[in-house]
Each structure stands twice: as C-alpha cells, then as structure tokens.
C-alpha cells in the first residue's frame, strides 16, 4: 500500500548537503587524531584535531543556518525538522566546547577532548542521518 507524501517535498540543496555531511568526516577525523595523540603523545595529532574541529564548526555552523530556515519553513515543525535542528545545534555547541578544550596546552586537553570528540562525532552522525533522511524523502514523520 502506498501513500503520497502528506507534505510538500523539501529537497536538500547541494550546498546544504555538503555542509551537513562534510562535518561528519571532520569531527570523525578529530576523534581519530585524539586517539592517536593519546596513544603516542605526538603533539601534531592534537594540532590536527584542533583544525579539524575548527573546520567542522564552519561546516556544521552553516548547515545549522539551513536547518533553522528549514525548521521555520516546515508546515509541521514537530518531529524530524525539530529533531534535526536540535541535534545539529547540540553538535555545534558541544563542538565549540570541544574546540576550547582542544585549545588547552599539551596534555591538558585530555581526556576531556577525547570524550567530547566521541560525543560530538556521534551527534554529528545522528544529526546528518536524520537531516538527510528528512530532506531526501520530504516526509516529516
């Protein structure tokens, strides 16, 4: 049994998709760099993590603007549009906290930076999953 979508289809713009999905490998790269730093004490891994997080914040920050516009324009705001926006907001805010954590000198960023990187990466994947599903299908629920 098939039913037509109850709401107008919201197609993801290419830019929106790139920004949203692009944050995932950046946050994931930061997480892997943190693990490498914890294992080796080689400071360059911590530097990599800092810049990857900074890049991820740029990507997810602009994606967040798209998500906000998406939310405001959605006819039914509850459910996926709201969940997507809130997850992405949490990703960005914790990602910013993680950026400051990574700004601490040498091993002062650990283990907090690693823990935050795990949380932020999971949040980023979840936000992207829901966001792209929502936008691709155009089905809000």
């Amino acid at each position: 049994m098939t039913t037509l979508p109850a709401y107008p289809t919201v197609r993801p713009g290419p830019l929106h998709s790139i920004l949203l999905a692009g944050a995932v490998p950046l946050f994931l790269g930061a997480l892997l760099s943190d693990i490498a730093y914890g294992q080796t004490y080689q400071i360059q891994w911590a530097n990599f993590a800092s810049w990857l997080i900074a890049g991820a914040l740029v990507f997810s920050g602009f994606a967040l603007l798209f998500a906000l516009v998406n939310l405001l324009r959605a006819e039914r705001k509850a459910g996926r549009p709201a969940a997507y926006f809130l997850l992405l907001l949490a990703t960005w805010v914790l990602g910013l906290v993680n950026a400051f954590q990574h700004a601490k000198d040498a091993y002062a960023m650990m283990p907090g930076g690693l823990i935050l990187s795990v949380i932020v990466t999971v949040l980023a994947i979840a936000a992207t999953w829901i966001g792209l599903t929502n936008l691709r299908s155009g089905v809000a629920q």
């Binding site: 530097n47 800092s50 900074a54 914040l57 400051f100 954590q101 040498a106 091993y107």
Partner: protein, 430 residues
Amino acid sequence: MKPFHTLSVLSAALLLTACGGEGDKTQARGPDPKLPEQQSSLLPSMKIAEPAPWGEQKPKVPEGYSVTAIATDLAIPRQTLVLPNGDILVAEGRGGSAAKLKPKDVIASVIKAEGNTRVKGGNRLTLLRDADGDGTYELKTVFADNLNAPYGLAYADGKLYVANQDALVRFDYADGQTKASGPPTKITDLPAQINHHWTKSLAVSEDGRQLYVGIGSNSNITERGMEVEIDRAMVWQIDAATGAHKPYATGIRNPTALTIQPGSGQLWAVANERDELGPDLVPDYLTSVREGAFYGWPYSYWGQNVDPRAQPQNPAKVAAAIKPDYSLGSHVAALGVDFSIPAMGEKFADGAFVGEHGSWNRDNPVGYKVIFVPFSNGKPAGEPIDFATGFRGDDGKTRGRPVGVTVDPKGALIIADDLANTIWRVTRNR
C-alpha cells in the same frame, strides 16, 4: 574558522571588560610561597594592557628619588648596559618567528598584540651619553645595527658581548667609542629553531672568561612537542675564548635575565614560569643558578609539584627538581634583574631590582612595575618593595612596560620601557 574566530574574540572581549583592582594580594611571594591547587578553565583569563601615552605623567618612584626619561623614540628597548665610561647601551629589537600551530595561536597573537608597541624592532644597539654629567643624555647614536633581535648585553675586558636571538656575538670596544668599528665576531650559534621564547639573556663572569646565556623554552608547556625542547629552557655556560658551551643549569622555563652577584660571583636569574594553571600559579622567580641543577620544567614546578600536561611524564626528573630561591608572584613577567649598590641609598643598598613587564593572562593584572628584593647575607630576605610603579595607571591604561633594569655605578637605576620605547633613569635627590 570564521564563526569560531569571531566567537572567541567576542568572549575574550567580554573577559577583557571584567573587573580590576589590586592583583598582588592573592600572590604568594617570597622564599617559601604557599601554592594553590591547579585550575583549568575552558577559556583562559586574559586582560591585555590598554596602551596610552605617558603625556605629562611619569613612573612613580620612592620619596627622595626622581625619574627622568633619558631617551625616547627608541625601537623596542629591552636590556641596557652601563659601559665603564658611563655611556649606556640599549639593545632594541623584537624576535621570534614561532609558527601558529593551532586556531588558538592565531587568535591569541591578535589579542596579545593589542598590549604591545606597534613600533618595528630596531635590531640595533643605541648608545646614550651624558658627557657633562648633568643627567641629560644629550648624545643618542646608533652603536651597531643589522643585528638579529639583540637582547642580552655584557662587557668585560674591552669586549662587548651581545646575545642575538640566534647567536652570541662580540664587538671589540675601546673606552669612548660611539660606533662599532665593524660587524661583530660570532662566538657561537644559539638555539634558534622556532624561538617561541626568543630572548637570549646574558651575563659574564667576573673574570671575563665565562659567558652565561639564558635560553627560553619553545612552548608554554611542551605544546609544540618535546622534540623542539632540546637545548631549550636552560642556561648555557660558554667559554668566551673558544665558544665551547655546556648546559650550566636546566629546567628553567624562561630565564629572561641573568646577572652576577657582586662579591660572591654567583650567577642569578629571573625566570618566567608556565601559564594556564590558574591566576596564582606558577610563580615567576628570582634564583641563584646552581651549576648542574634542574629546576623542574616541564615535568614539575617549584620542586616536586607535578605538571600533568607534560607527557610522557618523567618521575626521575621530578624527583631531581630543586626549588628556586624566591617567588616574585605568578604572571608578573619578570624580564630584568640587577644587583644594587650602596650608592642607591640606604633602603635599597643591599638587594636586587627586578623589572616586571606585567601580566596578560590574569583578571587582576600584576607586575607592570620595578620592585626591589631586599637581601641579607647574600640571600633574599623579606617582602619585595615597590621601586617604580605607575606603568599601569589607576585608570586601567598602561603607559609603559618595564623590561631590563641596570644599576648605574653612579647611583641610578636604568629602566627600559618597551611599550613607550623610552629609557627611564631613577636617581637619588641630592
């Protein structure tokens, strides 16, 4: 990068507007400071000096003393040297070429630059002369230029030694000379890779045979990697004749000024300690530099207080670390030291003057003055006494930042001010 950058600058700006007042009260100063617990905050405190011209104002000095600006419009004066004939040499420059490794470095460099002079470093030595002894230095001339961020200065037996940021060099000097007779001779290269802390401080032994060069660490606390700390955070002893060197004392994070104690011939240093452990950690210090001693950096501070940020840790080095002699207070940024003489007046006859550049990462600013540490039997004894203050005014504006301090045998203290690009001279009223 952009949202991150903007937000950090915003939050830093918010911090800048917070609070004021006297910062010394919580500071543990003296031979046996009680140190607080380590603190870690997500955003380090920053309170940057807000530069303002001196105008009609001057530094405040004790009653019975006067202060005069004997040279202005210099190009970042750091350390000074009084030559045998009374002429004053001033080392001018700004060094360092440390790469910005993290987003934090980019942001911090912009913020910290607010509190410094906009003038370009001179990379030269300027000579000041008061031929008639009236206290006015009527001659101001370039003694030598094309140097590479000169900082430490010393004189012995017709030789003028200059510690550039990358090499220790020597000029031949005859009394009365106002210009170097040629380019200097290199004695030895100095560690210059990265040069996070670029200032190379210098002292010469009383017999003129040994030179001591202070070499700062290449990071706050190894955040540029352990590999770049080879030959850093230590004092080298260098043979003046051959240029051969050996580490004389190690684990001194940033030995920013060295001097020889008259009489004992003992080497003393002021050193700047690590940041980001809280407003009252870690104290900068004044210490006799013991040969072969390890002073803790990066593994520990003030003896056996372990710094967990330096990884992998080294318990053997922590156990070997010795305590410095005298705490000057955290973040005061001591950059100058010289021993006094009886000609400075009874109250200031026995002890050492210390120039404090002033804090940048403490909500209640500290430093921004020249203090006097009284000595008794060759050791620091008692609370430090303010000698020259008013560099940071009650209005919150900063008019000057003291660096090098040099005692003139005629009975005067020479203070280099690298914010106002001025040399101050403090004398006793007759």
